[in-house]
C-alpha cells in the first residue's frame, strides 16, 4: 500500500544500501532494541526471565508471527493484505464446523485423528480459496490491493458471521488441543511451526527464482512486466501463500483456544501485523524474514514485560500499545539518521 507514495530521493538511497548489505542495519537495530528491552525487563522484574514466562511467550507469539509472514509477503510485492485475519477466522470457523458436525460420536481415536487431519486440510483449502479471490481482484482485475483486500476482509468476515450466526464454535475433540500444547524437547510445537514457516518463506524469497521475480515486481512492476514476468499470476501465487499462512494461524489459534469465532482479533491483529512489517522495514521489493522474527519478539516482550510490571495498575494492559507507538517513532527517527549518515559517507 502506501509504502512509497512518490519515489523521492531518500527512498532510493534506502533501497541502495539495503541491496549492498546482506544483514541489513535494520536487523542490527532491532536486535539492539530487543537486547536493551530484554535487559531492562529482566532487571525491573525478577519474574520476567523465567522458564515459565519464556514458555508462555513462545505459546503466544507464533500466531501473530505466522500472520505477520502472511502480511509481509504481500507487502514485499508492493501490495497489502488486509484480509489476513478474516481469512484465518474463516478457515478456523469452517474447519471447526467440519469437526463438530461430521465426527461421529462413537469414533475411535484413530478415526478422530483422520477427521482432524481432514479438518486441517479444509482450513488450508479455505486459505487457498481466499487467496485466489484476492489474487483475481488484485492481479487480474487490477483493484488496488488495499481496496480489494478491504472488500474481501468484509466478505470473509461476513461469511464467518453468517455461518456461525455470530456465535463461537466449540466442542472440538480433545486431541485437537495437542497441536497447541505438544512440546518437542521443551519447545512448543506452534513455535516450531512458526520457525519452520519463517525459514521456508525466507528461502522462498531469497533463494528461489520465484522469490527473485516477486522482489523485482515489488520494486518495479513496470520493469518486471517488460522483463517477461507474468505479474498477475505472480500476484495470484503470493496471495495464495498469504492465504495459506493465514489459515495456519487460524488452526493454531483454534487449537490453543479450542474455539473458533468470526470476530477473533478483528482489526487489531491486522494492524498489528502491518505494524510488525513496518517495524521490520519491509518495503516493496526488499525485506527480510529475520527482521519480522525479531520485530515479533520485540512486540511480545514489550507486551509481556509491561503487563508484568503494571499488574494491578488500572489500564495497565494498554501501556504496551502506547509504548509500541513510541518505539516505532523512535526507530523511524533512528533509521532516518542512519540513512543520512550513509548518504553523506558515500
Amino acid at each position: 500500500m502506501d509504502k512509497n507514495p512518490v519515489p523521492s530521493t531518500p527512498q532510493k538511497t534506502r533501497f541502495g544500501w539495503a541491496k549492498k548489505i546482506p544483514l541489513d542495519s535494520q536487523t542490527l537495530l532491532l536486535l539492539g532494541v530487543f537486547i536493551v528491552l530484554f535487559i531492562f525487563f529482566s532487571v525491573a522484574n525478577d519474574r520476567f526471565f523465567t522458564v515459565r514466562s519464556v514458555r508462555s511467550m513462545s505459546y503466544q507469539l507464533p500466531e501473530i508471527g505466522v500472520l505477520s509472514l502472511a502480511m509481509m509477503i504481500t507487502i514485499l510485492v508492493g501490495g497489502i493484505n488486509l484480509s489476513v485475519n478474516a481469512t484465518s477466522n474463516m478457515a478456523a470457523v469452517i474447519a471447526g464446523f467440519f469437526m463438530v458436525k461430521l465426527i461421529p460420536a462413537d469414533a475411535s481415536s484413530q478415526v478422530v485423528g483422520l477427521y482432524m487431519a481432514l479438518a486441517i486440510l479444509v482450513a488450508l483449502l479455505i486459505g487457498v480459496l481466499c487467496g485466489v479471490l484476492n489474487g483475481i481482484l488484485v492481479g487480474y482485475i487490477g483493484v488496488p490491493p488495499i481496496l480489494a483486500t478491504l472488500a474481501t476482509f468484509t466478505l470473509y468476515t461476513g461469511i464467518s458471521t453468517g455461518l456461525t450466526g455470530g456465535k463461537t464454535v466449540t466442542g472440538f475433540p480433545d486431541q485437537f488441543a495437542k497441536i497447541g500444547s505438544t512440546t518437542v524437547l521443551g519447545v512448543p510445537l506452534p513455535f516450531i511451526i512458526f520457525v519452520l514457516l519463517a525459514l521456508a518463506i525466507s528461502i522462498l524469497i531469497q533463494r528461489t527464482t520465484f522469490g527473485f521475480k516477486a522482489r523485482m515486481m515489488g520494486s518495479n512492476p513496470v520493469a518486471a512486466t517488460f522483463s517477461g514476468i507474468d505479474n498477475p499470476s505472480m500476484i495470484m501465487k503470493i496471495f495464495i501463500i498469504s492465504g495459506v499462512l493465514s489459515a495456519v494461524t487460524g488452526i493454531l489459534t483454534m487449537s490453543r483456544t479450542m474455539s473458533a469465532a468470526y470476530e477473533y482479533g478483528t482489526t487489531t491483529f491486522v494492524l498489528l501485523t502491518i505494524l510488525i512489517s513496518v517495524l521490520a522495514n519491509i518495503l516493496p521489493g526488499f525485506g527480510s524474514v529475520l527482521n519480522i522474527f525479531v520485530a515479533v519478539l520485540i512486540l511480545q516482550i514489550i507486551s509481556t514485560g509491561f503487563n508484568m510490571l503494571l499488574t494491578g495498575v488500572s489500564g495497565g494492559t494498554f501501556f504496551k500499545d502506547f509504548s509500541w507507538g513510541v518505539l516505532m517513532i523512535l526507530i523511524f527517527i533512528t533509521n532516518y539518521f542512519i540513512r543520512r549518515r550513509r548518504q553523506t559517507e558515500s
Partner: protein, 335 residues
C-alpha cells in the same frame, strides 16, 4: 459540459446511489420516506466530518489511519478534563479544547512525515497505536456517561422533524449544518486556494510539485492540521450524538472511512478526489447498511452482503480503467 460531467467518477457514484435506492425502494416501498433520509444523514454526520479531513491527505497521495485515534483521544481527554473541573457549560469549549489538541496531534504526524521523510501510512500506524494506548493508560479506559447539563438535550436538537409510522419520530440533526460548513470550506480550500491546488500537485507528481515551487512541508502541515481538527470535531460530535464519551470510539473504523473516500472517486494513489464525491461515498456506505435492514436480510448475513457489494464496487472502476487502457497495461500494484 454535460459530457464532461457524465465522464467523472462522481457521476458513476451518483448513478450507483440512485440505482441502489431504487432497487431497495422496489423491494420495500417504506424506504422512500423522509425519515429514512434523516436517519441516513444522522448516521453519516461523523463520517462526513472525518472523511472531509482525510480527503486532502489521500489526494496528496498519503493514507492515514491515525485520525480515528486522534478523534477518540481528543474528545475523551477533553471530556475527562472538563469533568474534573466541574464544567457545566455548552459545547463550544469542548470543540475549542479538542480542536486545539487535534491540531497538535495532526501537526505531530506532519512533523514526523516531513522532517524524517517517512511514509504517511507508517507514521499514522505508529500514532494510531500511540494515541489509543495513551488515552487508555493515562486518561481512562471506561466509557463516561456524565455529560454537562446544558448539553444533554443536544442529541435531539433537530432542525426538522418527520413522523414515521414504523420508527416513530426522527429528525434532521442540527450538526448537519457543521457538516455543510466544513464541506464548503474543504471544497473551497481544495479548489480555490494555491495550497489546495498544491495538494493535488503533490499527489499527482511530487517532484514536479517541488519544481513548480510548492512548499511541500507547509502544505503537509496544513492538511494534517486540518485533519487533526476535523477528527476532534467528529469525536466530540459523535459523543454528544450518542450521549457518552468512549475512549476507544472508532477503533475499528479507519478502514470504513478510507473506503468511503475511495468509493467516492478519490484515487488511493493520490492526485484525484472531490468533496462531493467523498460525501456520496459516505452516504453510499450508510445507504448499504440501511438497505440491508430494510430489505429484511437476517442480521448475521448482512456483513456478507456488504462484502459482496464492496467487491463489486471496487472492481467496477478498475475494470473500467482496464478497458480504457488495454494497450500496454501494467499491473498497478505499487500503491
Amino acid at each position: 459540459m454535460l459530457k464532461k460531467i457524465i465522464r467523472t467518477n462522481e457521476f458513476v457514484v451518483f448513478l450507483i446511489l440512485v440505482g441502489l435506492s431504487l432497487v431497495v425502494g422496489l423491494i420495500n416501498p417504506a424506504f422512500f420516506a423522509i425519515s429514512t433520509l434523516f436517519d441516513i444523514l444522522r448516521g453519516s454526520i461523523v463520517y462526513f466530518i472525518m472523511a472531509f479531513g482525510l480527503l486532502p491527505i489521500i489526494i496528496a497521495g498519503g493514507v492515514d489511519i491515525s485520525f480515528v485515534a486522534i478523534a477518540a483521544f481528543t474528545s475523551y481527554a477533553t471530556h475527562m478534563f472538563l469533568l474534573s473541573r466541574g464544567y457545566q457549560g455548552g459545547l463550544f469549549l469542548y470543540f475549542l479544547i479538542a480542536g486545539g489538541l487535534g491540531l497538535l496531534a495532526g501537526l505531530l504526524n506532519a512533523f514526523l512525515v516531513t522532517r524524517f521523510k517517512l511514509p504517511v501510512f507508517d507514521v499514522s500506524l505508529a500514532t494510531f497505536t500511540m494515541w489509543y494506548g495513551f488515552t487508555l493508560f493515562f486518561v481512562g479506559a471506561t466509557a463516561n456517561f456524565d455529560l454537562p447539563k446544558p448539553t444533554v438535550g443536544y442529541y435531539e436538537n433537530f432542525l426538522m422533524v418527520a413522523q414515521d409510522p414504523v420508527s416513530g419520530q426522527t429528525g434532521l440533526h442540527v450538526s448537519i449544518l457543521y457538516v455543510l460548513v466544513i464541506g464548503l470550506v474543504v471544497w473551497w480550500f481544495l479548489k480555490y486556494t494555491t495550497i489546495g491546488r498544491g495538494v493535488y500537485a503533490i499527489g499527482g507528481n511530487k517532484d514536479v510539485a517541488v519544481r513548480s515551487g510548492f512548499n511541500i512541508n507547509r502544505i503537509m502541515m496544513i492538511i494534517f492540521a486540518l485533519m487533526g481538527i476535523l477528527a476532534s470535531v467528529a469525536g466530540v460530535t459523535q459523543a454528544f450524538l450518542n450521549r457518552f464519551f468512549n475512549p476507544v470510539v472508532f477503533i475499528g473504523n479507519p478502514l470504513d472511512v478510507i473506503a468511503a473516500v475511495i468509493l467516492g472517486g478519490a484515487a488511493i494513489t493520490g492526485g484525484r478526489g472531490t468533496v462531493i464525491g467523498t460525501a456520496m461515498g459516505v452516504v453510499l456506505i450508510q445507504l448499504i447498511n440501511r438497505a440491508l435492514i430494510i430489505t429484511g436480510i437476517p442480521v448475521e448475513w448482512q456483513k456478507l452482503v456488504v462484502g459482496i457489494i464492496l467487491v463489486i464496487f471496487t472492481s467496477l472502476p478498475a475494470l473500467r480503467e482496464r478497458r480504457a487502457r488495454r494497450m500496454g497495461r501494467t499491473t498497478e500494484l505499487a500503491q
